[in-house]
């Protein structure tokens, strides 16, 4: 709880630092504050503290996810030092909004009441609508912001409607009570509850960009400022899945059969749309958007394979996925600057010749996303498949493996471009900090795959 409160205060501090025109100290203050939040979170480990009449529960699950998200946010802020040096307006607001969004994410991992989940999603989303339009002069950025807001509000409405229906039937927002309420029907729920639960699930599915509620994500990912895209692809996705998992684990398991089937259909669709959609992309950000959808499909596979280790697999998967995604966006920005602000895949040509170490790191990161051993992405996918096969979901697992094979094609398409010989327009300039970030993340992606397969939750 102290971490949550501290993070809110940190957001306000950063916002006010903006008025003081102290641009240089923004990132250091934000990062230092996040480190303190990290420390405060660690202090709560194992306590299982409850707040506001049990509406919030900080158990180990939520603390582990919070820590993972704080670490990724720190990585993004470190990237921000260079990013915002180049494009300057309203930097303090952007940092502050991301910190506020992070507090929403904290709520999403620790709720035990649907109202808090709703609050968390909204606190996360509203700053993002603004952040997506962060480049005021850019038409695409404004478009992204508008689309995200429109579609997001629609999803929120559905979600809220779902909560209302469930409350109407069960007269409670408290997940454990909803669980008891559902259990009494022995799987044969009245239509109102069924539809209510479906709407809640759709609301969360929208956040993690599960098909067919994924349409916002390619457009928004492409149009948003890259640092915001990185934040959305990592922190927001992690928060969405933590919320999704908690919803199932605390309230809905064992899922009524029709809902479970609906979620399986969603998983299959997500895998299909993500991987097929990525296949023919030429824009790197869009490619990563579809790749994010595809990864959502794999994560849903782990989530629906109910087992005591599902949470661990979920945490490992989201963390190593974020760890590979953030540096890819950094490399993308570096290449974009060197090729007259082009975002196409062909702009990666000649990267190996220009900066071979970046090309090697990028290969490692993409291989991790594709799931090639010995990277951690392989271990993550491997765990997902083992989990889902051990739970008897054989057909969907085979389907997911096929989709992973398709995935290899488009990741290696990028790798091929990286190693294709061609002259870059301008030399690629890498600040020392960015270089260190890329290398550290690449090494972590490799080492986590070799040494750490088991995260403690």
């Amino acid at each position: 709880m102290s971490a949550l409160i501290f993070t809110i205060v940190l957001g306000i501090i950063v916002l006010y630092l903006g008025f003081l025109k102290k641009k240089a100290i923004l990132a250091p203050v934000a990062i230092a504050g996040l480190l303190i939040a990290l420390f405060l979170s660690l202090k709560d480990w194992g306590l299982g503290s409850r707040y506001f009449h049990d509406m919030i529960l900080f158990d180990n699950f939520s603390i582990a996810f919070n820590i993972s998200m704080i670490i990724v946010t720190i990585l993004i802020f470190l990237f921000g030092i260079d990013y915002y040096r180049m494009m300057g307006l309203h930097v303090a607001e952007q940092y502050a909004l991301m910190i506020f969004a992070l507090t929403g994410a904290f709520l999403m991992t620790s709720y035990s009441n649907l109202i808090i989940l709703f609050l968390g999603i909204e606190i996360l989303s509203i700053p993002l609508y603004v952040l997506a339009g962060g480049k005021k002069a850019s038409f695409r950025s404004n478009e992204a912001s508008f689309k995200y807001f429109m579609l997001g509000s629609f999803a929120t409405a559905i979600f809220l409607f779902g909560i209302a229906l469930v409350y109407g039937a069960s007269a409670t927002f408290y997940l454990p009570e909803i669980k008891i309420y559902i259990a009494q029907f022995n799987g044969h729920l009245p239509p109102m509850v069924m539809v209510g639960l479906l709407f809640i699930l759709i609301g969360v599915a929208f956040k993690v960009a599960a098909a067919p509620f994924h349409f916002w994500s390619p457009d928004v990912y492409e149009g948003s400022p890259t640092i915001v895209t990185a934040f959305m692809a990592t922190v927001v996705k992690t928060a969405g899945f933590a919320a999704f998992f908690r919803l199932l684990g605390m309230g809905l398991l064992p899922l009524p059969a029709p809902l479970e089937k609906a979620l399986w259909v969603m998983t299959g669709l997500t895998l299909l749309v993500g991987n097929l959609g990525a296949l023919k992309q030429t824009n790197f950000k869009r490619l990563l958007a579809y790749s994010a959808i595809a990864h959502s499909g794999f994560i849903m596979l782990a989530m629906l394979s109910q087992h005591s280790s599902s949470a661990k697999v979920l945490l490992y998967y989201t963390f190593v996925y974020s760890l590979a995604t953030v540096p890819l966006f950094i490399i993308f920005i570096l290449v974009k600057r060197a090729s007259d602000w082009q975002e196409e895949l062909v702009n990666f040509r000649g990267l190996f010749k220009e900066k071979s170490w970046i090309a090697v790191c990028m290969t490692i990161l993409l291989m991790s996303l594709a799931g090639i051993p010995p990277s951690s992405g392989f271990m993550a996918k491997y765990q997902v498949f083992v989990l889902s096969i051990s739970q008897g979901n054989l057909l969907i697992s085979i389907f997911a493996i096929l989709m992973a094979v398709i995935g290899i094609y488009y990741y290696f398409f990028v790798i091929r471009e990286v190693f294709t010989e061609s002259k870059q327009l301008n030399p690629i300039v890498v600040t020392r900090l960015n270089g260190a970030l890329i290398i550290v993340c690449s090494l972590a992606v490799l080492l986590l795959g070799v040494f750490v397969w088991n995260l403690p939750i």
Binding site: K147, V273, G277
Partner: protein, 633 residues
């Protein structure tokens, strides 16, 4: 539980040192100058030899017969539990001493022989890798570790036969060796799999413990032993898989000495001796081994009569001697077979190195018709070569006499016909070896312009040491007839379970020895009359010959038969698969899957056109469909 033997874990060093040598010479192959790589490689094998000697005494003083050294638990899946372990017993120690002892001499010799070759560093790296694999093969405590070594030596053999890869025919020879060995390996791995299914283990100790309670003639044991035999036949170049070994002479001569005479080709014999308990349960397999061994021994000896390439003569003689070892195995005299492996390692390595010395001196010439008169110019080579020739011919008291005589005596006890055939083969051996000796070292030099000279000390000293071993190596296993106590056989008896006693009546033995000695003297005299007195030089290629001579000169057309019967039909079948099945059926299917996926990708991409009302439409449609789905299902 037996007491662990102190210091036995040093056994890990025996394969580790050559591996280290391989890593150093292999990784640094661009850096080493002159003889550095050779010195590193030889040192690693030499140290390995010293450790093996030390282990020999450790095991002897411990009073135990065997020790297992486990490195790590290798495979643990389900009920399969296979440790990566080494078995140190008398049999493996014998092989280790041969491999590292003879191996280090050959390595030292190679420093001189390969001097000036521009890939000398790679050569030593591969030789070290070979030694490492061979040690794994003989030290493994289960069939799987043995199999790693088995495949490793096959790979190194391939690499080293094709060492001078710029010559296409050498590459062909390397491929041939590899492919024929694969045929054997297939049988071998099937044997191991069947073994695992029957015994639920591949470890020697467990398999043999279970097997010792089984009935003689159990069908599954016969099947296992026959399959393992296929592997041994391939590796040890027996009929019908022997044709690769003569071609393997394309490799540098030290390779022929180490791999294709002293060590690798005896792996099959080692494996069968190691599995003696299983083979004792399968009389059918033993009879098959007798037939294979005996016919190989004689066929190869006959072909050897008409060969004119010094290394080819030795190669066929190796095939023939391996046949004798197989004969001994088939007779159930496993210790005798291993004893012949030992003496053969000494004298055949010596002969090959001697041949290398001659080739070196003749500037690469290998045709014995062009040599002659080298006795005076290369005295060390001559005297050591003579020792090797006497040893292989079985003249007492040279080492080959003891081992070969024991095989003949065993054959006599078993069946008089086998004895007569085996003796005939021995006489042929004697003839072609003395033919070789006389043609190379006596009379006058026939190649004009060559100036043969004695090889440098780094080459002659290994020759001398091997010469001494060839002369006295037989004393390891003196039969009681000569007042000995068969110490070598008794040493092995703890770990190898021979079917027949190693002893026979003295009067019979004396009779047999006198018979073979008189016949051998006759043969030597015959060879002397032909090649010294009459100064016959084998006819040049292409001169018309009698049909039988032509048949022998052309190696009974076995290669041609294999080409026609196997290679060509197989080649046209793979051509059919490639040109018809793959091009017309498989490729379109595979490409089609890719194309279809691409098209689906394009379609999925088209869904996303940036039109927000369509997004709303799709989402609402999704929601409605899901509602219908959950309410109707």
């Amino acid at each position: 539980m037996v007491e662990p033997i102190p210091n036995i874990n040093l056994a890990l060093l025996v394969p580790a040192l050559p591996l280290l040598g391989f890593l150093i010479t292999g990784l640094g192959y661009k850096r080493f100058k002159n003889n550095q790589a050779g010195i590193i490689a030889s040192t690693s094998i030499g140290l390995s030899f010293l450790v093996s000697v030390f282990l020999f005494f450790v095991l002897r003083n411990s009073g135990q017969d065997a020790a297992t050294v486990t490195l790590f638990n290798w495979i643990a899946v389900g009920n399969m539990n296979i440790p990566f372990a080494f078995l140190i017993d008398h049999l493996s120690l014998t092989m280790m001493l041969i491999i590292t002892g003879v191996g280090s001499l050959i390595h030292i010799y190679s420093i001189g022989y390969m001097h000036g070759d521009n890939r000398i560093n790679s050569f030593f790296a591969q030789m070290n890798l070979f030694t490492f694999s061979m040690l794994l093969l003989v030290m493994g405590a289960n069939y799987l570790v043995l199999f790693i070594g088995w495949e490793g030596v096959g790979l190194c053999s391939y690499l080293l036969i094709g060492f001078w890869f710029k010559n296409p025919s050498f590459n062909y020879a390397a491929r041939k060796a590899f492919i024929i060995n694969r045929i054997g390996d297939l049988g071998f791995i099937l044997g191991i799999i069947l073994l695992f299914f029957s015994f639920n283990s591949v470890s020697f100790s467990e398999v043999f413990a279970q097997a010792s309670t089984m009935q003689i003639g159990t069908p599954v044991i016969t099947a296992i032993t026959l399959l393992l035999l296929v592997g041994a036949v391939g590796k040890s170049a027996q009929i019908p898989l022997f044709t690769w070994l003569p071609d393997a002479m394309a490799g540098p001569t030290p390779v022929s000495a180490l791999i294709h005479a002293a060590t690798m080709v005896t792996a099959g014999i080692y494996m069968i001796a190691r599995s003696s308990i299983l083979y004792n349960l399968a009389p059918i397999t033993l009879n098959v081994i007798i037939v294979i061994g005996l016919s190989t021994a004689i066929l190869a000896a006959i072909i050897g009569l008409k060969q004119n390439d010094i290394k080819k003569v030795l190669a066929y003689s190796t095939v023939s001697q391996l046949g004798y070892m197989f004969l001994a195995l088939g007779l159930g005299a496993y210790s005798t077979a291993v004893f012949h492996v030992t003496t053969h390692a000494f004298f055949k390595a010596l002969l090959f190195l001697g041949a290398g010395s001659i080739i070196h001196a003749m500037g690469g010439e290998q045709d014995i018709r062009k040599m002659g008169g080298l006795r005076k110019k290369m005295p060390v080579t001559y005297w050591t070569f003579l020792a090797g020739t006497l040893a292989i011919s079985g003249i007492p008291p040279f080492s080959g006499f003891f081992s070969k005589d024991m095989i003949l005596v065993k054959a006599f006890e078993h069946n008089i016909i086998i004895y007569i055939l085996a003796l005939a083969g021995a006489l042929l051996t004697c003839f072609y070896m003395f033919r070789l000796l006389y043609l190379v070292f006596f009379r006058e030099q026939r190649l004009a312009g060559a100036h043969p000279h004695e090889s440098p000390k780094v080459m002659t000293i290994p020759l001398i040491i091997l010469g001494i071993l060839s002369v006295f190596g037989g004393f390891l296993n003196i039969p009681s007839l000569f007042g000995g106590d068969l110490s070598f056989s008794n040493f092995l008896q703890k770990n190898v379970f021979s079917k027949v006693s190693e002893e026979i009546s003295h009067s019979t033995e004396i009779g047999l020895i006198i018979l073979s000695l008189s016949l051998l003297s006759l043969i030597i005299w015959l060879a002397y009359r032909t090649f010294i007195r009459k100064a016959v030089v084998p006819a040049a290629d292409g001169v018309s010959m009698t049909p039988i001579a032509r048949l022998v000169t052309n190696k009974f057309y076995i290669d041609e038969i294999y080409t026609t019967v196997f290679e060509k039909p197989f080649g046209s079948f793979s051509n059919f698969l490639f040109k018809k099945v793959e091009t017309n059926i498989l490729n379109p299917i595979v490409d089609g899957v890719g194309e279809a996926t691409s098209v689906l990708g394009m379609l999925t991409r088209r869904l996303q056109r940036g039109n927000m009302s369509f997004y709303f439409f799709a989402m609402v449609a999704g929601i409605l469909l899901f509602i219908i789905f959950i309410l109707t299902i």
